[in-house]
Symmetry: C2
Subunit: 386 residues, 2 copies
Amino acid sequence: VLPRVELALSGETFAAVYRISGSEEEAHARALDICVEQTVECPSDLLPEGDVREQLVGRIASFRELDAHHFEAVIHYAVEVTGWELPQLLNVAFGNSSMKAGIRLQRLELSPSLLSVFKGPRFGREGLRTLLRVPQRPLLCTALKPLGLPAAELANLAYQFALGGIDVVKDDHGLADQPFARYEERVQQCAAAVLRANRETGGRSIYAANLVVPADQLVERALFARRAGVGGLMVSPGLVGWDAMRQLAEDDRIAQPILSHPALQGSFVTHPDGGISHYALFGQIARLAGADAAIYPNYGGRFPFSEEDCRAIVEGTAVRMGPIKPIFPVPGGGMSLERLPDMLDFYGREVILLIGGDLHRHGPDLVATCRRFRCLVEDGGRGRSR
Amino acid sequence: VLPRVELALSGETFAAVYRISGSEEEAHARALDICVEQTVECPSDLLPEGDVREQLVGRIASFRELDAHHFEAVIHYAVEVTGWELPQLLNVAFGNSSMKAGIRLQRLELSPSLLSVFKGPRFGREGLRTLLRVPQRPLLCTALKPLGLPAAELANLAYQFALGGIDVVKDDHGLADQPFARYEERVQQCAAAVLRANRETGGRSIYAANLVVPADQLVERALFARRAGVGGLMVSPGLVGWDAMRQLAEDDRIAQPILSHPALQGSFVTHPDGGISHYALFGQIARLAGADAAIYPNYGGRFPFSEEDCRAIVEGTAVRMGPIKPIFPVPGGGMSLERLPDMLDFYGREVILLIGGDLHRHGPDLVATCRRFRCLVEDGGRGRSR
């Protein structure tokens, strides 16, 4: 009944790579199903003749066995289906398939027009190193906590951290706009405290303000932070949306480095037979969405991420994606000074080392503890490289 | 080192209920961990004396066995931690715990101040029935597809669907802003087509425009849709963020019914030992975020949702949540006219029945097929109620 459709498509395709569970026959059927579900979402026999049927439906470019129960399918999609917008790119890659069993989005292989449309991180690894004047060593990061401290106390902590030489002093991800430390008050005081410490040390520490924020106040609060003199922002795309982070990254009036935080994203990665891989989620997608550094729980801390998961994230933060810059992995989540030698071994120098609560465990002089953190990294990094 | 903190908290708490895997000892340890991880995110011995330690850390209000390997913990949080903002409420309920093993957010029990701050759906079940002038029977819904049709063809389909008496004619969730049918052209033509059909039938069908859209164009495109004469919007909170949907729902300039679509949310529900329950995700949270109707895959279709999952969603759409209105469940995903008797049995009349591709399977006269759909629902619903 539907008329034949001719679409004048460019022929450009991008690929999404899936890990599919099941027997070979089941997995292949699932791959064919993905081709339809992620595009026309309509049984093949009902499709109009012509380009919809022949070019808009995804195509299996390769299919291979990973092990007896898992197969990898590379599926090509016409780039036009994305409309060159991030929410729709994610939709094509995994929208409805997220609801099916046994399908994991492993990685994206983007095509030239997508790689030219998405700006990715504004700073990336190099830009952040230039901004912080740290050309070589791993960067140091800590978190302002706990929730419940008044703004002045948080600012006092920020001051000591910066005085001790922590490069990135960020809010804990639960600091939103609560009555015990309202957003504006907190951001103003913490930004000022870090700038004061910098004046005293000649350093270039930055304060990164957390933006867990209603959609209609996102830009406004980011602009406030900029005016207050912050040196970065932290955004949880699981809470505010990936594209909201991209919007902040691309806004020239804001122009701040962005740390992404994994809150509420765990359900994507925790079950290996579904969801999105660590590589794609915290690496590729974080970059597409404008993060300059991606925070995630390190192995051996208080979250169940494995060494393999963390290695995959590191790869995803740096894999070649056209002009989209590599970003920093930021392993955290229960890290300690004791873990530093191991972390330096594992990550080499292209990393931001996030240690939170443990900095309070080494005596009352927080500044001295931070200096020790810095020395351990400078010493530990010597002679190491990856 | 940190000074004692007094917070003048109200004492009001809300509850999040978790299903935790493991032995009783493991599960209880996980529950204690949730109390800290979701609030102060700081080891207890490092917390300042006073209210942070005594009132901001979550508290286990009850802990009981569900079966030999699963326990239910009800955890109370000081309402102030949410800042009365939706992204932070979700953050407190499940942010970091999403990354841990064996924790599923089962449901929320909100407190008076939260229930007065969140407006929820603008229309809800009753409002939508009034708007569509359908006081009793189940509502009918279909989707414009496939992706790739030009705007004029989509509008032609929309016209026939409305002529045949479908109440809600929605875009397929993959219709974004693609070159073969640009957003503005599509929305204008489809809205006009449905209005034209209404003039001819005297009916009140609505066209719901899909908004898979960059964050910085969300409001603009919604306002365009409103001006074009749509009767509703479809939003995928997994793609654009829950709070973006809330923003649209609360904006008086837009004031349209909202269907939520589950794209990219499957990873939250598919593994029962993690994620968020169907009840909370497609019921409670969809309502908090302003949906008037929540689309999800029905059991027995092309997605692996079970009858139990669907029953839980129905409960979540209607459970008492202060002044926040009940919303419609919208089961879809491979439904057919043949399934109608079963669906009417299962759902009763408080449902929107979504049948997509199957309407094209019953001969070339689409209008007649839609009329048959409507008759089957009117007849089938007779004498049934829940």
